[in-house]
């Protein structure tokens, strides 16, 4: 039915030759930036920075910089990140005249302005079993295959439960219950992407700077839709990183995530003419809690604010000499 999954799916173990990757990077005269978006990640941030710095900067110089863009942590995330050698930025202080939004997408978008790399790697800062394959395996398809411009991770994802026990699971409930049905209904080709919501991806700046960034949960979905629309699925690769242990989220948090993703998705498919919405979508996710035998609504406002393609920002064009 589709053959993209055959040709563009890789396993990290195929890319263990780091010397070769460094040589190709050098030959192509590329610079690479790693960005870690954070919000209260003091338990995991040091490990991520330390391993990437040791393995992919000191021993095999694939990365030229590691930056942390933070959404307002109240724990010691920034102090620890700085101690372990990352360049640390508070999201609110980057392009402050454009306003301050809270969300992972906002951090990723602002990282485009702060970083200098030709290639950017984004990885979540809450990965407990971090390993440098999370970065080099995403970079490898970009370095080895000229037609690949964006690489995305997928995993078997055991979720940490209880205090210290872990159990195997397929994970990705929102993927299976929300995204995959949507892809199957509107863009079946994209259902070949095994974990469209994974928070780890790498791509060329020339891709990221030309697409809008929703500030919240919709960022991963919109990124795939926009890249496929502008360049086709053939510029995307997916890499099996085998195992990722992360914090579990409760069902209500996943509900809010699903809300943001659905909204982003529906707006995108309307924009390309696949559906016609007769009325603007609402902005509030309404969930109920039972408090002292009474059901009380818990309303979360999610407007779905999007940042425009970074290339449209004058300061960015000036910084990167884009005429």
């Amino acid at each position: 039915m589709f053959n993209w999954i055959e040709s563009n799916t890789f396993h990290y173990s195929a890319f263990r030759d780091l010397k070769k990757l460094v040589a190709i990077k050098k030959k192509k005269n590329l610079t690479i930036s790693l960005c870690l978006p954070t919000l209260n990640e003091e338990k995991t941030i040091a490990k991520e920075i330390m391993i990437m710095k040791s393995e992919l900067m000191m021993r095999y110089p694939l990365l030229d910089e590691i930056i942390v863009v933070d959404s307002g942590s109240v724990d010691n995330t920034l102090d620890i990140a700085s101690t372990y050698g990352a360049d640390v930025y508070e999201s609110d202080n980057i392009l402050p005249h454009l306003g301050q939004q809270k969300g992972k997408g906002e951090n990723l978008w602002k990282a485009l302005y702060i970083t200098k790399g030709d290639i950017l790697v984004y990885i979540d800062a809450d990965i407990k079993n971090i390993h440098h394959r999370f970065v080099y395996a995403l970079l490898a398809p970009l370095l080895l295959y000229d037609h690949i411009k964006y690489a995305k991770a997928f995993y078997d994802r055991p979720i940490a439960i209880g205090k210290n026990k872990s159990r195997p699971t397929g994970g990705g409930r929102v993927t299976e219950l929300v995204i995959r049905p949507l892809f199957s209904l509107f863009a079946p080709e994209l259902s070949q992407i095994i974990q469209p919501l994974s928070g780890e991806y790498a791509g060329y700046r020339e891709i990221f700077e030309k697409i809008p960034f929703p500030i919240g949960y919709g960022i991963e979905t919109s990124m795939i839709l926009d890249i496929c629309e502008k360049w086709s699925i053939d510029v995307i690769a997916q890499v099996d990183l085998e195992r990722r242990i992360h914090r579990n989220q409760d069902t209500k948090a996943l509900g809010r995530m699903a809300f943001a993703i659905l909204k982003t998705f529906l707006n995108r498919v309307e924009k390309i003419g696949q559906i016609e919405l007769k009325k603007k979508l609402f902005d509030d996710m309404i969930q109920y809690n039972l408090v002292r035998n009474k059901y009380q609504p818990n309303i979360t406002n999610m407007e779905g604010f999007e940042r425009p393609p970074m290339i449209e920002i004058p300061e960015y064009r000036e910084k990167f000499n884009i005429t």
């Binding site: 040091a46 490990k47 330390m50 391993i51 372990y84 407990k128 390993h131 210290n164 026990k165």
Partner: protein, 385 residues
């Protein structure tokens, strides 16, 4: 020796310059579950890391202990062994997650023995950073099946089957920095298992309860007269029994250790306890058995052995006070084969055997400098007798 001692303070800063690499190895290796008898995955990664750090040879011995060899410049110098045990006290299904803060790392097994294994893997890089070459081959050995029921099997096999003479050995442990072990007590660890049924209570109602029987055994052990010389003690370390609160316990286990600086005394006390077991078992017609778990003979270097003196001088030069106690570890296997050996600790920490074990980062660099100093002393022939 003075020449080596003078270089040590400078080593500390140089080693610190590759802090990220050292700690990366500690974390990558330490987060792989490695209970005794199930060290295969950690051993495989240690091999991979040693190969990646360009040891000259990377292999396993006949017992599957992973070994990396850094070839020396001398043709006829016997090798120096650096040894860290790979196994941990924890089951494989707990969360082996290390949390790194500014000054500490927390997680199961971090001090016993992930830190040492990580340092072992990084030694080739540390030698390059310090621009050190040795005359002797340096053999980096991550030994399996050391603790508990493992009874140092990996080390025993390694030492007994190594084809050439061994010049000396340094065993490394996470903590405590300053430890200088060069002797081990004679020791037997054993478990007493008690099994009863309801019928055992026909004549003596309390005798159907395994916990009460073990209580009787404990009382008799406590009545044994132990000499002050040779120094001897019995540690009652573990007890378990029963199923729930409301039912009489029909099974029970008592774990204990006999320790002395005399092999004969340990054997005699063990025999006394066997008599206690046999007596109670016979008189009350119950199943009571004793199973030895591990054992060691007393071994030692003298305090004036050049390896001990050199090691103490290295530790003192780094501003640390050496502390010497008996150690029931890999050390004893080397010394019992007439190979001079010491055990060193690499840092400070707490909660060694809990899942939230915590180690300090900053002292590690002195701990490694100390290890390098001792290796250099052995390599220069300063510890040869």
């Amino acid at each position: 020796m003075e020449e080596i001692l003078e270089r040590l303070p400078g080593f500390v800063e140089s080693i610190k310059s590759i802090k990220d690499t050292i700690l990366t190895n500690v974390v990558l290796l330490g987060e792989i579950p490695s209970p005794t008898f199930k060290e295969k995955k950690r051993a495989a990664l240690l091999m991979e890391r040693m190969a990646d750090f360009q040891v000259d040879e990377c292999t396993t011995d006949g017992y599957r202990n992973p070994i990396g060899i850094i070839r020396g410049t001398g043709k006829n110098k016997p090798p120096i062994f650096i040894v860290a045990h790979l196994d941990t006290f924890f089951d494989k299904d707990i969360d082996y997650n290390y949390i790194i803060k500014k000054k500490v790392i927390t997680g199961p097994g971090i001090l016993d023995n992930s830190l040492s294994v990580g340092v072992l893997a990084t030694l080739p890089e540390i030698f390059r950073t310090l621009d050190l070459r040795f005359e002797s081959d340096i053999v980096l050995a991550g030994v399996i099946q050391s603790i508990g029921h493992g009874n140092l099997r990996g080390t025993r096999h390694l030492v007994e089957n190594w084809a050439t003479p061994i010049r000396g050995a340094v065993c490394i442990e996470g903590g405590e920095l300053g430890r200088l072990n060069y002797f081990s007590d004679s020791m037997i660890r054993a478990e007493i298992h008690c099994k009863t049924t309801d019928t055992h209570g026909d004549h003596y109602p309390s005798m159907s309860n395994a916990i009460l029987i073990l209580n009787k055994v404990i009382n008799k052990i406590l009545n044994l007269r132990l000499p002050q010389t040779p120094q001897t003690k019995i540690v009652l370390g573990k007890i378990a029994g029963g199923v729930n609160y409301g039912h009489i316990a029909h099974i029970g286990t008592l774990g204990f250790e006999i320790r002395s600086d005399s092999d004969d005394m340990v054997k005699n006390v063990y025999s006394d306890i066997q008599d206690i077991i046999d007596g109670i078992s016979h008189e009350y017609e119950i199943k009571l058995s004793m199973i030895p778990i591990s054992n060691l003979n007393a071994t030692r270097l003298e305090f004036n052995h050049p390896l001990v003196k050199s090691s103490a001088a290295v530790i003192r030069k780094l501003g640390i006070t050496p502390i010497s106690k008996p150690s029931e570890s890999e050390l004893s296997i080397f010394i019992s084969h007439n190979i001079p050996a010491v055990t060193l600790g690499l840092t400070h920490g707490e909660n060694y055997y809990l899942e939230n074990a915590k180690m300090e980062i900053e002292p590690i660099f002195k701990g490694i400098a100390q290890l390098i100093g001792v290796i250099m002393a052995i390599d220069k022939g300063l510890c040869d007798v």
